[in-house]
């Protein structure tokens, strides 16, 4: 029998997952934000920087106290970045190339009956060419979102654990 994730506790990590293709310009911004957060070396924050969301992340996610997904967003409007609490659990496919955190949360819920509170931070993206540098828009979104994330993580670390399972 496969071991299940440990029940979430106040010591469970806050999970930050940044994802995107680091060779395709602004698509990298989520992964780059995650790497920047990792350099803060916060003791109860687990940071994962990945090319794409893959099914096995559901296990890690189920052990977390809270989850922050960071992604690039095409055609995202005027805002420097957008944050939304993820409330719905859409039953999307979690295949090899799926990029929807709601699908991963739904998978964790279905597999382990765990659904940590989650937020989805998206940064506007304009350039997706191979080898392209970050656009000024994505750079600005990255810097401002890092400030926001520092505050959000600080407030989550101060809060008692909130379980939803």
């Amino acid at each position: 029998m496969s071991p299940r994730p440990e029940p979430t506790s106040r010591f469970a990590p806050i999970l930050v997952i940044g994802y995107g293709n680091e060779q395709r310009g602004d698509d990298a911004v989520g992964a780059l934000v995650a790497r920047a957060v990792a350099t803060w070396e916060l003791p109860d924050v687990q940071v994962i920087s990945v090319h794409q969301l893959t099914p096995e992340l559901a296990h890690t996610l189920a052990e977390a106290r809270a989850v922050l997904f960071i992604d690039a967003a095409c055609c995202a409007g005027e805002a420097d970045f957008t944050v939304q609490a993820i409330t719905g659990l859409a039953g999307h496919e979690v295949g090899g190339h799926g990029g929807d955190p709601r699908a991963l949360l739904a998978l964790a819920d279905a597999l382990y009956q765990r659904r940590p509170p989650a937020w989805w931070l998206t940064i506007p993206a304009e350039r997706f060419a191979f080898g392209a540098e970050l656009s000024p828009t994505a750079c600005r979104g990255m810097l401002l979102s890092l400030r926001f994330l520092r505050d959000l993580i600080h407030s989550l670390r101060s809060e008692p654990c909130t379980r939803s399972d």
Partner: protein, 473 residues
């Protein structure tokens, strides 16, 4: 009036493709094609890049099998440096490739194909997915997640990250395996073995239910191509090329992978971006061959590990010796997972793995190199030419899914001919033509992620192009 059915896109495969089926005036299948609609262009834009960057660049070809490209590219680099890499580096590369085989095969079986196999090909499409599988078989689904996690964590332990580790380099590898990570991986072997054996038992119990699919899912004699070890043992990283025919007779053996252009030709068709490799002496399109798990099990004499060897004997009894039915790709994949776990256990016990000499230092000593390894889906060739400064002047990539291209097209036609007789398009055919393709586990490699689902879109065309019917789900 002839009709044309288009399935676009094909779902639960890695990448984007569509299938078109042409009907004749009598409503019988005239032809069927599996179209690859993506264009990647890696071979073109790598020209001018330094050789040293190639493992990092080409591993981006795919987020599912980056390790395969990383290793084949590093091996092509070894050839250009003209070095024999340190033995520990070769073992570490093998270890990573085995982790890759496990995680990729686990994704293919547990997440992409198990919903069809365990819930039934005629079950409600709205439930025939991973979530439906979890509801019906939660322990199996959790086991699949754990197996994938095991493979990914092995890759991350070596390469520092799960996807696109820039770890293997021309001449060796950048770092070894930390003793603590080695112990952690060793501790997970029993669980991984139990999951793989359980999945095998479940699959074998299902085989009788899928007798018809076993007969019509790409079941025809072709040649099979892949690497084998010196004594014919199952091989995934080195060795020489063996080719057998559909009856198991050796067509060619001991071929140097670096001379692949002397025995593999590459045809193109105007309706697909994917090349059509073929066995050169047999010509095009007669030189159809298959690669991947089915081929590797047909080519090898044995695995060299006890559990996998016992499974191989039973597999050959069930399949009748050399197995031509592509439905058995699933079965072969599960046996390879078990073999990979056993080999990982052996390697983790090898004291040489802790050696500190991991990289041969050299400059550009040859202007051409070919790196070959077995990717989860089959034999992968990276062929580079460089100038005297090590800048790339030519790249040719021969990818496993491409080598299965001719066989996949024949499989689609075989399934369509079996299920379509007349102007009606049976639902059973639509499910099965996709499942037939999925048995090959084609990897068409999206280069960037995309939010949302990949729906099945089918349109029915008359010969004059008029849309007669359209189905979205």
């Amino acid at each position: 009036m002839g009709q044309r059915i288009v399935i676009d896109p094909v779902s639960r495969i890695e990448g984007h493709a569509k299938i078109s089926i042409e009907l004749d005036d009598a409503g019988e299948v005239r032809d069927a094609r599996f179209h690859i609609t993506e264009f990647r262009g890696f071979e073109a834009f790598c020209v001018g890049r330094p050789l040293w960057e190639m493992p990092g660049i080409t591993s981006r070809i795919c987020g599912i099998c980056p390790v395969s490209h990383l290793l084949a590219s590093a091996k092509a680099g070894d050839q250009i440096l003209a070095v024999a890499i340190p033995p520990a580096a070769a073992k570490l590369r093998r270890l990573m490739n085995l982790g890759q085989i496990i995680q990729s095969h686990a994704l293919s079986f547990f997440h992409l194909s198990a919903p069809d196999l365990l819930l039934g090909l005629d079950s409600d499409p709205a439930r025939r997915n991973l979530f439906g599988l979890i509801a019906a078989e939660p322990e199996l689904a959790r086991g699949g997640i754990r197996l994938r996690q095991f493979g990914q964590e092995l890759i991350a332990a070596l390469g520092g990250r799960k996807i696109h580790p820039a770890w293997a380099v021309p001449g060796g590898v950048r770092a070894g395996l930390h003793p603590e990570q080695r112990r952690e991986l060793q501790a997970r072997i029993p669980e991984a073995t139990a999951i793989a054996r359980d999945a095998l038992e479940r699959f074998k119990a299902l085989l009788a239910q899928y007798d018809e699919e076993s007969r019509v899912f790409g079941n025809f004699p072709t040649m099979f191509l892949g690497l084998v070890g010196a004594d014919g043992e199952w091989e995934h990283y080195d060795g020489s090329i063996r080719i057998v025919d559909g009856a198991g007779a050796i067509v060619a053996d001991g071929l140097d992978p670096a001379s692949y252009q002397t025995f593999i030709g590459e045809a193109v068709e105007p309706w697909s971006y994917l090349k059509f490799p073929y066995y050169l002496p047999a010509g095009y399109p007669n030189g159809v061959y298959r690669v991947g798990p089915l081929a590797r099990l047909n080519l090898c004499t044995h695995f060299g590990t006890p559990l996998a060897d016992a499974e191989l004997r039973e597999y050959r009894q069930r399949g009748g010796g050399t197995v031509n039915g592509s439905f058995f790709y699933h079965y072969a994949r599960l046996i390879e997972i078990l073999a990979a776990i056993e080999r990982i256990a052996q390697l983790l016990d090898d004291p040489e793995l802790g050696a500190t000499r991991l990289r041969a230092e050299a400059g550009i000593n040859r202007l051409e190199g070919v790196g070959v390894s077995e990717a989860p889906r089959g034999t992968l060739f990276h062929h580079y030419r460089v100038d005297e400064h090590g800048l790339i002047t030519y790249v040719n990539l021969l990818i496993a899914t491409g080598q299965n291209n001719l066989a996949m097209n024949r499989a689609v036609a075989q399934i369509a001919r079996h299920y379509i007789h007349g102007p009606q398009i049976p639902e059973a055919m639509l499910n099965r033509v996709e499942a037939g393709i999925r048995a090959f586990d084609p990897c068409l490699s999206c280069s960037t992620h995309a939010a949302g689902t990949m729906p099945l879109h089918i349109t029915l065309h008359a010969a004059d192009g008029t849309v007669l019917d359209e189905v979205l789900r």
